[in-house]
Symmetry: C2
Subunit: 200 residues, 2 copies
Amino acid sequence: MPGKLFIISGPSGVGKGTIIENLLQGSDRLYFSISATTRGKRDYETDGKEYYFVSKADFQDRIKSGRMLEWAEYQGEYYGTPAGPVEEKLEAGFDVILDIETRGMAQVREKRPDAVAMFIYPPAFSMVEQRLTGRGTETAEKIKGRLEKGRSECRKAGDYDYIIINDNLDTAVAEVKAVMTAEKCRTAQRLHILKEDKSL
Amino acid sequence: MPGKLFIISGPSGVGKGTIIENLLQGSDRLYFSISATTRGKRDYETDGKEYYFVSKADFQDRIKSGRMLEWAEYQGEYYGTPAGPVEEKLEAGFDVILDIETRGMAQVREKRPDAVAMFIYPPAFSMVEQRLTGRGTETAEKIKGRLEKGRSECRKAGDYDYIIINDNLDTAVAEVKAVMTAEKCRTAQRLHILKEDKSL
């Protein structure tokens, strides 16, 4: 039985990363997809860990030949999800998590209507505001940009299959896990058992 | 927020009762619906515990006035789910479990398309056969009738939202709980949070 594809989105500062870390620690049949980008590698980054760092020509070629599951251009650089590793892992029976934006979600859904999409929502958007401002590592302008983006991301939460409210990390992780378990119990996933039951 | 309505079906002997007992022990916001019947009360039974025992005239009146969520006639007696208690509990925010047959499921779905239906399936139908035969409390003819019914119930598992395989009680209970948690995270259940978020 192939694995299931899960999309996780949410505004910057909502705690997506921590939730995903918790999921990965709890399972050895779960694969976290690594994005590709054309932007330069930073000193602390490793190719294949934070991103696959590729050239513009390579990225454009991947787009043309349909080898990107989703992609976007942002400030002149490409970002996206290479389809190959995702499909390989699904075929091998792993569940796969994509941490992508709402625009990417729409693209993935077109190609894989069976993907299950969860939106991580803050208890109130004002808490994202506090967290982003509180970090103190970015200019006011950058924070403003992130907030605007976060706000427009949150407004698209209604397009998702599930909304997880991250007001308590343990509850949020448990809810994401419940969604993943439940989706594997869906009738379409299990009808093969009836077909294989020769005593029926 | 009103509660959610969950339907649980499965062949006699699959272990539905034990699963439901486990669910009820783990939650005080869960209500198990009690059926009404026109068949005579047995000595060990209490009215309002195993069944609500009602007269035929009363039951027929409930059907006519739309106060039965589902019902069926079996060997000249009526069996069914009174709508009143279910709706009261849902309104009060309780989740409600109905343990009903596949035919009843179809009736409930017509009235409440938001009901979530789970089918408890045996690891193989032959195990239900073994369990029913092994009980040794019923005549061969009765067992045969139950098996035929169980078999025809199992063939309708494909009409359900979820299929839970009861080859391990703990796993089956965990899966049913995961479905209940996940269904409460569905976007339709949570969109009100976005609407109420004045900081968005």
